[in-house]
């Protein structure tokens, strides 16, 4: 299958290893990966901070960049969620019906990585090997906007050698929330503190999730604590082989 990668702005600029891991994983599973060069960002930060009007050209750019793709895969529940649940609405509310229709079509072809693997490719065992103690944080948007349910866990459980431990209060938000982390940094930090305590209580050496943004937040806190826990995106674990 020919898969168009929507790498997301955060992964492109700050976490290229997550993009590389996604490419290698999909190629290993026998699929061709393309990276449409016109892509930039989904515009979610603008939408969620109160500037959906400014996001319109960003949405238009995204829709055009992926116009000809059959399937679009993003290593992010949050960005895939914005494409699927916000783009068409924002376009419609700002009176651009044509863009709204095009965005609806993009939405139908867009998958978050674990959804794509489990639902489209119908694999749970991707042939990975990862002999470490790992705990998994289900990110809010993958959980409640996309409803990926236990797909990431199914994929992780099939990894050879992994010691997967349950994260207490896993479904509680880590406190990131985009610009929330800056505008309400005290509350965000309090939420982060509880999330970090939960992570540390598992004695896992690796924290994984399907969103680099939340991992940047929790990982940034864990790094400040000199805790030694490594944040790794789901794709980076699934890519790992013997």
């Amino acid at each position: 299958m020919r898969v168009a990668l929507f790498v997301t702005c955060l992964v492109d600029g700050l976490f290229p290893d997550v993009g590389k891991a996604t490419v290698r994983l999909l190629e290993r599973l026998g699929h061709e990966v393309v990276v449409p060069s016109a892509q930039t960002c989904c515009g979610q930060m603008h939408i969620n901070t109160g500037y959906p009007g400014q996001a319109l050209p960003v949405i238009r750019n995204h829709v055009e960049a992926f116009e000809r793709a059959d399937v679009i895969v993003a290593p992010s529940g949050s960005c895939a969620g914005s494409v699927r649940h916000q783009h068409a609405d924002v376009a419609r509310k700002h009176g651009d019906r044509k863009l709204a229709e095009a965005a609806e079509s993009t939405a139908k072809r867009t998958y978050e990585l674990s959804e794509f693997l489990v639902d489209v490719l119908q694999v749970t065992d991707v042939g990975a090997y990862f002999p470490h103690r790992v705990t998994y944080h289900p990110t809010c948007h993958s959980l409640r906007v996309l409803k990926v349910q236990d797909r990431p866990l199914k994929l992780l459980k099939a990894v050879e050698g992994i010691d997967l431990v349950e994260l207490p209060s896993a479904e509680t938000c880590c406190g990131f929330g985009g610009t929330f982390a800056l505008k309400n940094s005290d509350t965000s930090t309090a939420m982060l503190g509880d999330k970090m305590s939960a992570v540390l209580s598992t004695k896992a050496g690796v924290l994984t999730a399907g969103d680099s943004s939340c991992l940047m937040h929790i990982g940034g806190g864990l790094s400040r604590l000199r805790s030694g826990v490594r944040p790794l995106h789901l794709a980076q674990i699934l890519e790992h082989t013997r």
Partner: protein, 465 residues
């Protein structure tokens, strides 16, 4: 963006300090955070249990949302029908555009009875309009009869939770409040819950027997018959509704359901979502005054019509004040209710208060959420609070002139809408490698390290492959 001219906005207790500032105070109070985490954790588990046991919860929830939407879409007609039904059964109906007008009407009615004291059934609407203060101004003392409200009142405190107003207090704090403020209380009072309840009971019994004017709210009003419904746990509400000779009920105009049958849906949704009970202990329904009683209903707008005018915000008026969204909210669990500065705290407060007052008077509340979405999941009338918050954020930014934030966002959007511009910008990230080590990002770097920008972007890697 639509502006809502000419409609009355809400006054009373709907605004406070900016949320981030108020939250900071609350976050520093370790006792408060412990009480909140314990109380919300318990109630969350109870709710999940009793909701989980109903196989048709999803259908009930959809029905609840649909009934409320139907009422809101035809609110003018339902209100007139409700008024007619009430009047025909001998209840006097009054209309109040805002908090001030409501208080004027109610204090007038109370003064006409000549009483110096009124007893109250727990009611959010009266807290919203600041009725107790308005009564105090004309020399009338209002006695709260709901146990938690009583604790709040005696402690000279403010409610922090819709349903459990004293959720921020624990037993020993409550004992202190009673010992200090309750006339004639046993000085050796312990913090045993039964002893505390008994002390409150004695105090309140005396009031029920001697005070002749009561003020209530209502959880629902039935448009068809004029029936009012109060749902509660202690039975004190029922005493208030039946014993005094004058009963004044203060009702938000959005509280209506079309017919008696519709209550079937809400009386299942409400107790399971709020206290985590299959059924609440007391449901009082009255249609017209009891014998020898004079009854008044004051219908309050206070910003509700303005809320109704916004198609992307009006669903907030579906709210049945169950407080499931508060109990589930990770922000509320840490800051408590006072940080929201309004009678309505938590996620529903963050979308309702700014709409009632106009966003200019409550510009920080729509941002008081990480948009984690748990409030939408638990809401029994399916209010999509996260999307509504996002919508209200737009109303806030639109209400302001250019700010440094809006200018930066505009520049970023300009870069992001073209791949060549965007790539040039993120390649600057290489310079960021140097900068990020030395320049802290305010609000972020206090508790988190910034990631080291990589040597090459993903796209550079991809193209060099």
């Amino acid at each position: 963006m639509t502006t809502f001219l000419g409609m009355p906005t809400g006054g009373g207790h709907l605004t406070g300090e900016p949320f981030p500032k108020a939250a900071k105070h609350a976050l520093g109070n370790a006792q408060l955070r412990r009480n909140l985490a314990k109380a919300t954790g318990t109630i969350r588990a109870k709710r999940a249990n009793v909701v989980g046991e109903l196989p048709d919860w999803a259908e009930l929830r959809a029905a609840g949302a649909a009934i409320k939407d139907e009422v809101l879409a035809n609110l003018d007609e339902y209100l007139v029908r409700f008024e007619e039904a009430l009047t025909s059964r001998g209840t006097h109906v009054h209309w109040a555009r805002d908090a001030d007008e409501a208080n004027r009407i109610i204090t007038g009615l109370v003064k006409a009875t000549g009483t110096r004291e009124v007893i109250k059934v727990k009611s959010m609407a009266t807290v919203e309009i600041g009725l107790n203060e308005a009564l105090a101004d004309v020399g009338v003392h209002a006695v709260e009869t709901d146990l938690a409200e009583l604790i709040v009142q005696l402690g000279n405190d403010k409610s922090s939770h819709i349903l459990v107003p004293a959720i921020h207090r624990n037993r020993s704090e409550i004992r202190e409040v009673f010992r200090r403020e309750m006339p004639g209380v046993d000085p050796d009072l312990t913090d045993d819950p039964r002893a505390l309840a008994e002390a409150a009971r004695k105090h309140l019994r005396h009031k029920f027997m001697t005070v002749d004017v009561a003020i209530s709210g209502a959880n629902f009003g039935v448009a068809e018959t004029g029936a009012l419904v109060v749902v509660e746990s202690e039975g004190n509400g029922r005493m208030c509704l039946t014993l005094p000779r004058t009963l004044i009920s203060v009702v938000g105009i959005e509280k209506l359901v079309p017919s008696w049958r519709d209550l079937e849906v809400f009386l299942q949704l409400l107790p399971r979502s709020s206290t985590g009970e299959r059924m609440n202990p007391y449901t009082s329904v009255w249609t017209g005054p009891t014998e020898g009683q004079t009854s008044h209903v004051v219908l309050v707008d206070n910003g509700r019509t303005a809320t109704l005018a916004d198609p992307d915000g009006r669903a907030a008026l579906r709210c049945i004040r169950c407080s499931a969204c508060l109990n589930s909210c990770p922000v509320y669990e840490r800051t408590g209710g006072h940080a929201y500065g309004s009678t309505y705290p938590g996620p529903i407060g963050a979308v309702l208060s700014p709409q009632l007052t106009g966003v200019d008077k409550n510009p920080t509340l729509p941002f008081a959420s990480s948009l984690c979405g748990v409030c939408y999941d638990v809401c029994p009338v399916a209010i999509d609070i996260p999307s509504m918050l996002v919508h209200l954020r737009e109303r806030v930014t639109e209400s302001k002139r250019a700010t440094p934030e809006s200018t930066a966002m505009r520049a970023l959007a300009w870069a992001m809408s073209d791949a060549r511009r965007w790539r040039r910008l993120i390649r600057l990230g290489k310079f960021g490698r140097v900068a990020s080590r030395h320049v802290p990002l305010p609000g972020w770097s206090t508790a988190r390290d910034l990631p080291q920008p990589p040597k090459e972007t993903f796209r550079d890697w991809w193209e060099s492959r």
